[in-house]
């Protein structure tokens, strides 16, 4: 029971409380580069999710056999292997999406988020916890990618996952699918998260002082 609870905690941490993008601000390059539509965000998110999960499992399984001195190299080899797997699988199964994401799939290797989780979590925790963590972080990253992609797609083309939302007369906000739109949208979303956090902290403080009084 306790273990279930802990694993669930790890999962929620990654998805929301310590969201890799909105809270830790990691993995920005792949995030911004491919999120000009929700579907691209989803594909990239799933690809990263798969790499993260696979690498976490391997690293966590073999952690005691990997000497400290070469661990980073081993992690990279493991990650690169999974990325290559994803790359080829996508190219075979979904060539259209593979073309869209183009060169950014291989760049998952350089995503600090994944290497960071190997180093900070998978190499120090049990398989079970590592899987929970990978699920959480992967889902958190996926969530960020999809929401950013959705915002940019809704405003940028007036569609979501390809379904038109506003009718034929919609005036698309082209900037949203262009690079500046990526920067600005993410900036505004981060601001929003900061603001939420601040509000929460305020309420927490208030509750704490009220408790103190009682």
């Amino acid at each position: 029971m306790a273990k279930e609870q802990l694993a669930y905690d790890e999962f929620m941490k990654g998805l929301w409380r310590e969201n890799p993008v909105f809270v830790q601000v990691l993995g920005l390059c792949p995030l911004l580069a491919v999120t000009n539509s929700a579907i691209n965000g989803l594909a990239m998110g799933l690809a990263s999710f798969f790499v993260l999960l696979g690498s976490s499992i391997l690293v966590s399984l073999f952690k005691s056999y990997i000497p400290k001195q070469v661990r980073i190299s081993c992690f990279i080899i493991i990650i690169a292997t999974f990325v290559t797997v994803v790359d080829y699988t996508l190219a075979a199964a979904l060539p259209v999406i593979h073309k869209e994401l183009g060169a950014f799939i291989p760049l998952i290797v350089a995503n600090c988020l994944i290497l960071g989780r190997m180093e900070a979590f998978a190499s120090r925790n049990t398989l079970r916890m590592s899987v929970a963590d990978a699920f959480g972080m992967g889902a958190g990253f996926l969530f960020a990618l999809v929401s950013l992609g959705a915002v940019r797609e809704i405003l940028g083309v007036g569609e979501i996952f390809g379904f038109a939302l506003f009718g034929a007369n919609f005036e698309p906000w082209v900037i949203m699918i262009l690079p500046p739109g990526g920067f600005i949208t993410l900036g505004v979303m981060l601001l929003y998260f900061n603001w939420l956090e601040e509000k929460k902290n305020k309420i927490d403080k208030q509750l704490a002082t009220e408790d103190g009084v009682n």
């Binding site: 290559t84 760049l107 690079p179 500046p180 600005i184 505004v188």
Partner: protein, 193 residues
């Protein structure tokens, strides 16, 4: 505009690695708070990019035509090792240069702009010279962007009227957005004339 010239201008200004491709955001957002450091990081990046272009060309020409599936892994491993070797060589031969640039080298090696350079250059089918010019343009474009960014951030730091909530990553992203918007002015440069 000759082909090499256009490759250079295009990567430097129009398709700036940071502002148009979102590559190298970590150092761009993380290290751009001090002008001096940013500039040196930029120089180190130019250097590593040129080395990367050489490695990529070598691998593409002599290794990967036989084993294309090793592309990703070999890029990473070879670039990282070569940079490491160069780092050691610099440390031995020129401690001043090492102090100026060397400390950044390991930081850059794991960065997506470097890997991106190798992969893009390969996808575009660039040869040796094209690859080198591409690397130079990308590195200098990165330097330009990070130096401008650092100048602005140093200035903004001094504004105490700025709401605390806004400081930090969110704000840096918005500055980058405006800068990226300004760089859009270079779009189409030398393509219509």
């Amino acid at each position: 505009m000759g082909d090499l010239g256009w490759i250079f201008i295009s990567t430097l200004l129009i398709n700036n690695f940071v502002l148009a491709y979102f590559l190298g955001l970590c150092p761009f957002l993380g290290v751009s708070n001090k002008l001096e450091v940013s500039f040196r990081l930029g120089l180190a990046t130019i250097f590593v990019m040129v080395v990367t272009a050489l490695c990529a060309w070598f691998l593409n020409t002599y290794v990967l035509i036989h084993a294309p599936y090793l592309r990703l892994i070999s890029f990473i491993v070879v670039i990282a090792s070569v940079v490491q070797l160069i780092e050691m060589a610099i440390k031995k031969t020129s401690p001043t240069l090492f102090r100026a640039l060397g400390i950044f080298l390991p930081l850059i090696t794991t960065n997506c702009a470097i890997l991106g350079l190798a992969i893009f250059a390969t996808n575009k089918g660039y040869g040796l010279w094209e690859g080198l010019v591409y690397a130079l343009g990308a590195g200098m474009g990165f330097t330009l962007a990070i130096v401008l960014m650092a100048g602005m951030r140093q200035e903004v730091e001094k504004v105490n009227a700025m709401p605390k909530l806004i400081r930090g990553f969110a704000f840096n992203l918005i500055i980058s957005g405006i800068l990226s918007m300004a760089f859009m002015g270079f779009a189409g440069l030398f393509s219509s004339s």
